[in-house]
Symmetry: C2
């Protein structure tokens, strides 16, 4: 293919941190980004050329976005595949990844069925018809993870059910359309960022994902698994990419079982939190490769540059508040530490507000992650807080 | 110092490629950028939060910029130090680097006098009063580089005068206020990006700068000089930083003479073309460090990450035209090659339109640049062209 610059304008449904980092990566490539997001002055709007204010499924707004874009993509699963499909067809422009893929992925039951049908290893799963049904499944599988079929993220929409007696409350919490998955006795959770482009697929080195309360806290790349497991994870991710329709970067979340098997947990049809480390840690970031992929441009190399750990900065507050992050100088002062702020003006409990990435300059491409690097990233991140430390200090000073 | 986020809003006079790359670097730090530039939809405007359209010395426009900014800086020497000083004072906000420094640097004769007074090694220089004066100087120094005292860049404003008989024409070309410098018999030209911040100064590894027609074509980092010369260059750059007032990144252009001496050629009070390699090749880019410095934040590490070569993409056209850059896929397809497009819609002869950076992943921090890396960067850059290759191909096809 022939690529010329100035490049196409990319219309992105969603303008959160993923849209923001997408716009940061698009600019050097000469690709201008316009985002659609319901929140005026959304995180991505500051870096994007423009923002259209509208809901993710607002046909008129998406039509307006398509009018000023050469290619459409999305950074959030709440995008509406039907609207995207018809608007793109009306304007005769591509939308990537294919809305078909979004439709499949949006419904977790449909996603799992499709993966299983394609021969891709997944945990045991079943659609839940109601309370009676769930109770039987809980009994049979000795407890399950109950999941809302649509709309969940960052642990919302998932709830563990250990006993039949918990079934009613769990269904109340998640609503009607649910599915259940057997608990996977995993050694660790890992993830592979995969990219599918015009000329084929590529995978990034496997990332170890450290969760708490089902929210990602830190990403360790490469994962501290043995080589055979890492190879298997990339093989499974490649199978997943072959199965998916449409170009783009995908976050492929996996379980590494106690036996060293790899099972697919969930797929995100977009750049993924577990791939933020690629900005400093790999040869081409997941965001740059998403831009390249959705435009049909050649993909960039996905090799590790150095062992890398990213740690999420989450809202450590009890109530929503205007966001002020303290102790930022601790990260700025640290060597080989990189700050990424998402531009959200309000902090909420456990809301993703930014991340810190540290790389290990003493190590090279082929090297494993030193545990000290993980501790360093997490302790740097832990120094950051939205709780007013200056007020605390002056209070304690005045109390003395 | 205590740094909190969201960070301050940075007002930047000038919105060309330097402002654009500054905005790209500011976003992850949570710093929003507003640029002032006379050209609507200037290169930086796409990535910046906003643009104010106005001349670089338009007091009202700069006043408007100051109203929405917490700190002012500039990315172009055409900024007006008097206006910056008085507007910043009126709004009680900092402007960095200090307008005093800009004033000194803007006038090349004043700059050289100040450097010489500070004991910093510079080539022989002298202010020129008129044609008769110039003729004598040309005779005495056996030819000189005649320089307009103000406003020159990219070779404009400089003209060599080898014979007294060329004096009149040279003065006609450059105008009234000029200075002359002896030709330095240099081994190579090198440059050091220096940063001055609240807590001290830092220098990047020395860059070898390859010019043609006085326009920078490629930057090779680290420079292919011996270690003693590299040390001397960083020492001289540190002396320069000590002499300058105000925080920010500075481009310090140097001559390495045949005898291995270091002389200061020129200083730019802003990120510099010879430091674009730092985006991929060092631990903190010159743009990120400029943002950190002007805000009074801690500086990031300036270590080399890998040997790196950047090559400028210049307008290879005879006449101004709407810009279309062809063969971009050649760079996208190459491994360890990074594209930077500046977003200019019009190409002009030798206009800086973008750059290509290549790094050497096989080498590490301490390693020298392999000559093959330089050739690779230049040959990749040479594949790019603003001349319509598709038209040529179809023409030659139709002629067969």
């Amino acid at each position: 293919m022939t690529v010329t610059l100035p490049g196409p304008t990319l219309g992105v449904v969603g303008g959160g941190q993923l849209g923001r980092m997408l716009a940061e990566a698009a600019a050097p490539l000469g690709v201008e980004v316009i985002v659609l997001d319901p929140t005026p002055r959304c995180p991505a709007s500051v870096v994007a050329r423009d923002q259209i204010v509208g809901e993710f499924d607002d046909r008129d707004a998406i039509d307006e976005l398509a009018t000023v874009s050469d290619v459409l993509t999305y950074e959030i699963e709440l995008a509406d595949p039907d609207v995207l499909e018809s608007v793109a067809a009306k304007h005769d422009i591509p939308v990537n990844p294919d809305p078909k893929t979004l439709r499949t992925i949006q419904d977790k039951l449909v996603q799992k069925e499709a993966l299983a049908d394609a021969g891709i290893p997944v945990p045991e799963f079943i659609g839940i018809g109601g309370e009676k049904d769930l109770k039987l499944v809980v009994e049979e599988l000795d407890g399950v993870m109950l999941k809302a079929r649509e709309g969940g993220y960052d642990g919302r929409g998932n709830t563990p059910v250990h006993e039949p007696s918990e079934a009613a409350a769990a269904l109340d919490e998640l609503g009607v359309d649910t599915m259940a998955e057997s608990f996977v006795p995993f050694e660790r959770e890992v993830s592979v960022i995969g990219v599918k482009g015009a000329d084929g697929v590529a995978t990034y080195p496997v990332t170890e994902t450290i969760h708490a309360d089902e929210i990602l806290r830190a990403s360790v790349s490469p994962a501290r698994s043995d080589d055979a497991v890492l190879d298997r994870a990339r093989d499974v991710a490649t199978e997943v990419l072959d199965f998916l329709d449409g170009w783009g970067a995908y976050g492929i979340e996996l379980f590494e079982t106690k036996k060293g098997e790899i099972l697919v947990n969930e797929i995100a049809p977009r750049p993924h939190n577990s791939g933020h480390w690629t900005i400093e840690g790999s040869r081409t970031s997941q965001f740059e490769n998403h831009v390249r992929a959705v435009l049909g441009w050649p993909l960039g190399p996905t090799e590790l540059r150095e062992p890398t750990v990213s740690a999420n900065i989450l809202g450590d507050v009890d109530e929503p508040a205007e966001a002020t992050l303290y102790n930022v100088d601790r990260v700025l002062d640290a060597s080989n530490a990189h700050l990424h702020w998402y531009g959200k003006t309000q902090v909420r409990p456990l809301r993703k507000m930014g991340h810190v990435t540290v790389t290990d300059p003493a190590a090279g491409e082929g090297d494993a992650v030193d545990d000290a690097l993980v501790e360093r990233a997490e302790s740097l991140r832990d120094e950051l807080t939205f709780v007013d430390v200056t007020a605390d200090q002056s209070r304690s000073a005045s109390q003395q």
